[in-house]
């Protein structure tokens, strides 16, 4: 049993080497497929960070009446953050609001002048709230529609932003969906191309398979070397695509970062290189072995 296994592996490796041209064409086809699938994964990472960026820009502010005490607001905040939908709720006191306002308009002398003339602080305290997902603002707003908050809340800027938020929500959702569809279609293409390449290599060996069977080889003994070859294609293709991807990302990543601040593909790649490589190997080996298994089936019936 063990000798048979060793013989199958050895025979697969030898025939991989002796069929250099066929092997290299299969490996390059498969590298392209794996490269494609990995880049799609990376594009997905980009899309996610893009939509996350977009969603991060959405927030709502709840303004409180001027006479509301800080404790009341903080109590409301404690209740608020118990909601699953809330990602963050930042308290901006009246003083902070004033400082921000002054900072923002320090060049506008008329505004500054009128603020000075007013004497006291006209700005209300607020909570800046971010939700986990853009679609959840509606329910956060309804939290503040409870009766106990009626008296202390001045206004919620959700209604003003509602249209924008809805738009952004639908944009991010469709970007994700389109990305997923493209990913699936292209991955399917890559799989088909690889399968066909392997089918051709096995087709070119169909006489050999028949001879093996006629000489008394069992199905596994005839099939084994081809499956080993398929797996070898996968491993080598995974290595090749890794070696292509590394310098490519190193070169491209800074350019992407300048378009989409806050995303560093190269860093992501380096941080996840082992997982990515394992995925590539897994994709390659399973593509190679399964394609070989399926393609060889019809030639074994001798």
């Amino acid at each position: 049993m063990f000798t048979t296994f060793v013989r199958i592996i050895k025979s697969g490796c030898i025939s991989f080497w002796r069929n250099k041209w066929l092997s290299s064409s299969a490996v390059s086809m498969m590298s392209l497929a794996i490269l494609g699938i990995t880049s799609l994964l990376l594009v997905n990472v980009l899309i996610n960070s893009l939509t996350a960026n977009l969603e991060d820009k959405i927030d709502i502010s709840v303004y409180f009446n001027l006479d509301t005490s800080e404790d009341e607001i903080l109590d409301a905040r404690v209740d608020l953050v118990k909601l699953n939908e809330v990602r963050s709720a930042e308290y901006v006191s009246t003083g902070e609001a004033l400082n921000k306002f002054k900072d923002k308009h320090k060049d506008n002398s008329i505004l500054m002048q009128s603020l000075d003339e007013l004497g006291n602080n006209p700005l209300s305290a607020s909570l800046n709230i971010k939700a986990q997902q853009a679609s959840q603002y509606e329910s956060i707003v309804s939290f503040f529609e409870q009766e106990k908050y009626n008296e202390i809340i001045d206004k919620i800027n959700y209604l003003e932003n509602k249209a924008v938020i809805a738009r952004l929500t639908s944009i991010t959702r469709s970007i994700r969906q389109i990305g997923l569809v493209i990913l699936l279609v292209l991955a399917g293409l890559a799989v088909l191309v690889t399968f066909n390449t392997i089918r051709l290599t096995i087709y070119s060996s169909r006489r050999e398979i028949k001879v093996m069977k006629l000489v008394g080889a069992s199905n596994w003994f005839a099939r084994g070397p081809f499956i080993i070859e398929g797996a070898l294609y996968g491993v080598i293709a995974a290595l090749v695509s890794l070696f292509i991807l590394y310098p490519l990302l190193w070169y491209i990543s800074p350019k992407i970062t300048s378009y989409l601040p806050g995303t560093d593909l190269f860093y992501f790649f380096q941080a996840n290189i082992i997982v990515l490589f394992l995925i590539q190997i897994l994709v390659g080996v399973s593509l190679g072995t399964i394609s070989s298994l399926v393609a060889i089936r019809r030639y074994l019936e001798v």
């Binding site: 000798t3 069929n19 050999e208 093996m212 006629l214 000489v215 008394g216 080889a217 003994f221 001798v302």
Partner: protein, 227 residues
């Protein structure tokens, strides 16, 4: 002993390749099967090595029905038969040595035995100095001799040769036939299918003549009778 019992083989839609064949081949016998192309020689051999199943009838090896072999037992049956083909059918990516070793490896033969037997077989067919050549580096006659060595590798009880000299010149033809006779002297049944009149007349052994799927003549010291 091989026994064909009322064997017929039909190919769809309406070709009857073998028609009610009754035939006994005894141990240690050298049998030639003669007949024109299309007479049913190859079909007879395909049935024997279980490449195909008979439409009717039984093929018995001792008391074992070849047609009823389970799929997983077919390789074991084939290891009892050595096959030689007109087109040699060597594995193109393996050297002469490896082609012969392969036939032993499929049966799980230990490495030491392979290393001992293969050179012996190569000597038998006089090719020891071409052990590391690939098939496309060998002449037709040499390739066929490798194929014979491969067929003998697992010490078969039957050697089946389907037109083994069809692609060879006269000199190589006789070399192959002499080799087959030598193998038969070592108590192996040899079944030789051929349409070559000179071979059959020169052999002076049992000749079974097929025509249109039927045995028309079975002669213990036969001559070629077709024109």
């Amino acid at each position: 002993m091989i026994y064909f019992k009322k064997v017929s083989k039909a190919y769809p839609p309406n070709c009857l390749a073998l028609d009610n064949i009754n035939l006994t081949i005894n141990d240690e016998e050298f049998v030639s099967i003669a007949g024109r192309s299309g007479a049913g020689k190859s079909t007879l051999i395909k049935l024997l090595i279980r490449e195909e199943l008979p439409s009717k009838g039984q093929i018995l090896w001792g008391d074992q029905d070849i047609g009823k072999l389970h799929n997983r037992d077919i390789p074991f049956w084939r290891r009892q038969i050595g096959m030689i083909f007109q087109d040699f059918r060597l594995l193109p990516n393996k050297t002469a040595y490896e082609n012969i070793a392969f036939a032993m490896e499929v049966g799980g033969c230990p490495k030491l035995e392979i290393e001992k037997s293969v050179p012996q077989l190569l000597k038998l067919v006089n090719l020891i100095n071409k052990a590391d050549n690939f098939p496309d580096q060998l002449s037709g006659g040499e390739q066929q001799r490798v194929a014979i060595a491969r067929a003998l590798a697992h010490r078969p009880k039957v050697l089946v040769a389907d037109e083994p000299t069809g692609n060879l010149d006269l000199l190589n033809t006789w070399e192959i036939i002499k080799l087959l006779m030598k193998i038969n002297e070592l108590k192996t049944i040899v079944i030789l299918s051929t349409h070559d009149r000179d071979i059959i007349n020169g052999l002076d052994r049992r000749v079974i003549t097929l025509e249109k799927g039927k045995i028309i003549k079975d002669d213990p010291k036969g001559k070629y009778i077709l024109f």
